[in-house]
């Protein structure tokens, strides 16, 4: 793919991925076929900041933050146990941003294969 388009994608979506994944993503995009561009561009990547806000403002105890990033199984686990007896809720305030970025990477990898 053209490096101009790749750089545009990287600029728009840098905050959605872990920083150590960025160079690998760039390499993948450069090697990729032009026909995959619409798929990559229309990816519904989740914003880590939004999930953190959901997690802190009450959604954490009900597992809504996990549902938001597409981690349905863990979300149900949190919902059924009052947010993991309150402990998991607090742990997730610190883990949810990383989990969001990991989920985004999973989504990106699924879309290009």
């Amino acid at each position: 793919m053209e490096s101009q388009k790749v750089d545009l994608f990287m600029m728009m979506n840098a905050k959605h991925f872990e920083s150590y994944q960025l160079s690998a993503i760039r390499e993948k995009l450069l090697q990729m076929d032009e026909s995959k561009w619409p798929i990559v561009q229309s990816l519904q990547l989740k914003d880590p900041t939004t999930s953190l806000i959901i997690s802190i403002v009450g959604g954490g105890a009900l597992g809504i933050d996990r549902f938001y990033i597409g981690d349905t199984g863990m979300g149900i686990g949190k919902l059924l146990t009052c947010g993991g007896l309150g402990i998991w809720t607090i742990i997730d305030w610190f883990l949810i941003m990383g989990a969001t970025r990991e989920k985004n990477m999973e989504m990106f990898q699924k879309s290009i294969y």
Binding site: G60, T72, G73, G77, L79, L80, T81, C82, L85, G86
Partner: protein, 134 residues
Amino acid sequence: MSKNKLYSLLLIACSAGFIYLLYQSYFPESNKYSVCIIKNISGIPCPSCGATRALQLLFKGDFIGSILMNPFGIIISAILILLPFWIVIDLILKKETFYTFYNKMECLLKQKKVAIPLIILVILNWIWNINKVI
């Protein structure tokens, strides 16, 4: 999520659940302090408040009392009892039947026609919980 991570997480969660249940059964006087963040902050019970008492009632054989306390107790007890066996059998036979099942269920639950009725059920249970004053 990888298979090993999921299995170890669920085994830890199940053992933590059993430890908490045993603790609550042997020291019932600690019941007045709730572990639920929502209940502690706002005073309103969350959808799954009362699940511990529902589980205790269920293990004493009071099925109807458990449903009246919180219907989530039935689901949680089924998960708590089934999951460890399923995971251990999977680990011994070196298969991944539970992992594939988990992924399939996640895909199913993400569909709107399945998700929306379930969300409505949870909200109804929440309203019932608030009215019961658990």
